[in-house]
Symmetry: D2
């Protein structure tokens, strides 16, 4: 289909930090590699600071910019609002957009509190009745190896699931003089490692197994309780003040285990203090007849074990770069690696396809809410000496 | 020192199963590679079945055999008793031997119940006053890479310890028709994965960190509650009956987390149902300035990370086969691998050296008891919905 | 610098196959992540087939298209010509573009014959006198880990280089019924594995070591000498005819060794028949004090060994995703992977920076010619029973 | 079978260096784990230096010792002579033993010169007519993973073999001040890396493929031509003199490629100057339908790739520790690692079984001679500018 023949999907993005860069790349790139049913138009970006906003618009390829997000959300020439602000603003923006009849893509975690997440899911449910859709951005579902894992579980390749183990290990807070960014401030971020990266492994396990957590027991820990204030942002961190210090109000690490709706046992750890692990989202799914293992630091690979391989059974290191693998045919020949941002591009592809087909894109806000419920249950458990906390 | 010049250490072994083969190998081999201060004499082995006992004596190189272990334990010409029976007999044999003035090496876990383990530690404490020593056989402490890990922690290489993660994954019970061996019977084995392999990771973490667990929260699970009876033993498993079935009375898997005496957070998982993992005792220790990682399926290697490596920092894959590494100088040139049984040979070396020096060999029965306390606390927690269970 | 403030660089691309997709992505993306001194304008793309050309222009984001490449090359509003045709057309297009005063980026290998490559280098040398630059596209130099390897060698991190070993292993021709694409036809492709992927490892070794090959001895082999004709192209391969077959006129595999200008020994293998290896460009550089190892199937990683690490020396698995690593600061936080196409984006960045600074971009056509000389020497050696063939 | 019931095999060992320790361990250990048809008696060891000889006899478990190897070889109460001297003495001892009617096990490489190796093969052929057998000690054939590789090739698992690649990388000579041991002296060692470790990869490839090399082209290199004299031996190296230096008369590294009798292409590299590689004997066998890969630094593992695994194909990391794998049933449960010396124990097992059955043990001296022919052809090629050298 030529560009001209496809009806447009007019997009606005609210926020333009690290996630804004990734989302913008995806909006620019998806139709270059995939046959999208809609022509993407990157109409406007909103943000508070007029200067950095203008620069971001130029840099990321948005036609216009506006410091008033409400105005943007209500424009008639916008079909979809992409929310990439800090979590504390998710609810307000997403609900306003849905109410204004715009489809919404919202970054994870859905919100900083369960109440906000619930309100968002409610708004999404209402909007759906009007053919307006909301989706939460757990992009790791769109890493081809993770999607392949889901497909293998679904097709029964590893039998019934008995256990899962998942960790998300980073090390950028190991240094006790790393500065106090907004991610370490509960009022902005909601929680620490738990909500930021723990959310990803909860979603990954629920997605790949096709099951929900039914109860948890957990602990959280803040190893460094005070840090130098941030003078200037650089990447996820920045330059630390030499004189001023402030309190860390979120967790540095969270560990928990739980039960899955299918009867299995699941373990989790999220930490920003594991030296040498930069972005190690790892999971292993043990079934009755086989197993799967994944590591985001080696993201083009899925490890697959099957007892059926007999006396030459062993974890197969599958390079998920063949044309028959999910999403891959659109890209490069076998063995040519994809990177972090491809997940975002795949997200745009799936979202646009669902909207065009009038179907609910996944994960829905309800699914995002379920992840929030798990995180909240972990926090309650942790606050009560690891007490078992059912998810009802 | 020539053979003749060294005073003898006269050894008897009680039991002769899988562990008997490993211990016998160590008694035969240690003085061939290490300069032991004593000349090992493998005097006698005891067991119930006269036929298999005779065969074991021949095969493993013991001069005599006896179906009455009490008689053996009381012989004047025995200096040390090596206990490799199932856990249910540990206390009786070990205490009798200590009372008879023999040094004792006892396989792990120390006993099937906390009460028995306590009695053993008490007997050991008394014996020590008479210069008689007891040691429990956590041989993985003697894998060179594990010992090196301990030394690196001790020397401050990775700073203060914040987190540890340890798993021991096997898959030999994944098949629900694997037969009901004594290891699945609570009365003989005490517990399942928890006591058999969970004990190893608890000891490994406490040893490498030099800290004790101060509280735990855990769950256990028996995924297959009934299995065919065992017709004939082969290796750790055997041939299953086609008609008779019986109940599994121990756990298949245990997951728990806890706190370390130094303030850190520790996670654990022991399972016999992780397809593709055969003997995967793995741990990772995260400190303030670096980290260590180990995998028993790759046992000649230690992974070492240090922030001090700057912009070429990354986990170093250290082949622990250099002459300056623990135990290695006695063996082969660099890059020549050691195997499972070397840990047992190193255990004999260390035990004999300590006895000769009149020093307490490590791990002592007290240390074995501490591991039992942890396992028992996990079981209590698991029985009470994962309730937090302090170790006082 | 805002978009408007930067002077434009107006680009045309000749050809639009697999490489066209990769180059287009880079032209679109580079200024979104890097601060380029010029504003990229993707003016026109040229190709033979009007239909696929139009579609490619739309898909890849080129404003105009033209079936006459000569017309495009001579347009006044074009500053740079990007040549991504099969190798047989490289010389004609590149020389015409240089003669017309356009900068040229030409895909590797520079040409199908040494004569053509020589003519191109000559044209480039003349153009340079007029401030017009030519560059050949060995993009793997721009993988951050490869660039870091070069920097480490240059700074003396591994001492004097004694040996290098490089392989480029693929498996897409293992199946003897894989069809006869243009890459298997000497008249279009020049050579087989040798020129296609062998060129990459020759360039990689010469680049990373900073040395040239001074002589080679080699063998080539065509294991499958006849294949079904191609009915329809898909990716690098396609659908095979069931009735018609044709001769393979290039090599399937090439092995060679040689000497480096610094006195070292270098080994090479390029093959399309190594089952399980999809895109395994691997090299290891052994110096007097350390070593480096790289694998394109794990492209965000560089392995670094240094004897200076003493008794915890081991290959460090360096994730080359830190802001201080080459090119990385423009992308994502640590541990967030880059993929295949990033090398192309980095190539655009470096090329535009060099042009803007009036400096020769690297690798120059002269460097491309040197790679051709090596390949040609290997072919001569292979044709003469592996005879030693000096590169004079 | 009880010890007493088995007829004895009375063994003498000539030499007692590093290889003597490994062989003695095997003679002591084989009947402890395997059901040997003969009872091993370690009768005598011979060596030049009476003091170290006595100590070695004690240490390694030989009943008697003698400084006159000829006297030992001719004793009536010896059935088998195990030759572990430096290569320069192999011929004299082995031929004398065979002439005296003793079975012979001789360390590799068979001899330092082709002439000597030929004489040995001739003596072995004559002895065989009298029911006396000779075997050369390429123990890596007995690593379970290598044996499994052979079995998989034989059963057609990977189809017809197209290519092999083998390297044997060590780094103990990287330091240019490492001392001049006998292994660096051509008169004692015959050659350097080529004969010492190159012999292993030539044997491994010929064994696993079941094919012979039919021609080679190669280069050798001595990077450090003068070294400090050795003051005292320690392990494979030792303490260097501070004043005296001497010439290195063997190669530090050898690279070569060749053709296999089945039409395949084979590459080889042997070096003692690859920093970070301690004992990296690695090979990969590429067939028409699959591939195998092995690394001696990870010796319990075989990597197996099969196109038949379809869209989850990937190298399977097979832990070769299952009871159905070669040799393994005699040892430990799955996942329990074997080490370097197990190959020697397996060698004793196979040798004793063959002798008892009146069959030629493998590899025969003829096979050892074939390896020598390859090494000699590589040396001739290297001396003639890498000229192609057929093996006729």
């Amino acid at each position: 289909m030529t560009d001209a023949a496809r009806p447009p999907l007019r997009v606005a993005m609210i926020g333009h930090g690290f996630m804004g860069a990734a989302h913008s790349h995806a909006w620019r790139t998806a139709q270059r590699f995939f046959d999208l049913p809609r022509r993407i138009e990157m109409v406007a970006v909103a943000g508070r600071n007029p200067e950095t906003l203008r620069e971001a618009a130029d840099r990321y390829g948005w036609s216009e910019c506006d410091t008033d997000w409400r105005r943007v959300v209500e424009r008639d020439d916008i079909d979809l609002v992409d929310v990439v602000t800090p979590g504390s603003a998710h609810m307000e923006v997403a609900v306003a957009a849905l109410d204004a009849g715009k489809h919404v893509l919202c970054e994870k975690p859905l919100a900083n509190t369960l109440a906000e997440a619930g309100a968002m899911a409610e708004a999404a449910a209402k909007a759906r009745e009007r053919g307006v859709f909301a989706m939460v951005g757990f992009t790791y579902r769109r890493v081809p190896a993770v999607r392949l894992a889901r497909e293998l579980v679904e097709s029964g390749e590893i039998g019934r699931i008995r256990q899962t183990r998942a960790v998300y290990l980073q090390d950028w807070l190991s240094d006790e003089n790393a500065p106090l960014t907004w991610r370490l401030d509960r009022s902005a971020a909601g929680s620490g490692a738990l909500g930021d990266i723990g959310a990803h492994i909860v979603d990954a396990i629920q997605y790949v197994t096709g099951q929900e957590l039914t109860g948890v027991s957990g602990m959280t820990r803040t190893f460094v309780t005070e840090r130098p204030m941030l003078e200037e942002s650089v990447g996820l961190s920045g330059r630390a003040s030499e004189s001023r210090r402030g309190p860390v109000t979120v967790d540095d690490a969270a560990v928990f285990f739980g039960t899955l709706s299918g009867g299995g046992l699941a373990t989790f750890e999220a930490t920003r203090m594991a030296p040498g692990r930069k972005n190690a989202l790892r999971f292993e799914i043990s079934g009755t007849t086989g197993a799967l293992a994944f590591d985001l630091e080696d993201l083009n690979t899925l490890q697959v074990f099957s007892f059926a391989d007999g006396n030459t059974a062993g974890f197969r290191r599958v390079l998920v770069t063949e044309p028959e693998h999910p999403y891959v045919a659109a890209w490069w020949p076998p063995g040519h690696m994809l990177g972090y941002e491809h997940g975002f591009t795949h997200q745009v592809r799936d979202l646009v396809a669902a909207i065009d087909a009038g179907e609910q894109p996944r994960p829905s806000f309800e699914e995002g809410l379920q992840v929030q419920r798990v995180l909240e249950a972990v926090e309650r458990s942790a606050a009560a000496d690891a007490r078992w906390t059912p998810l009802t």
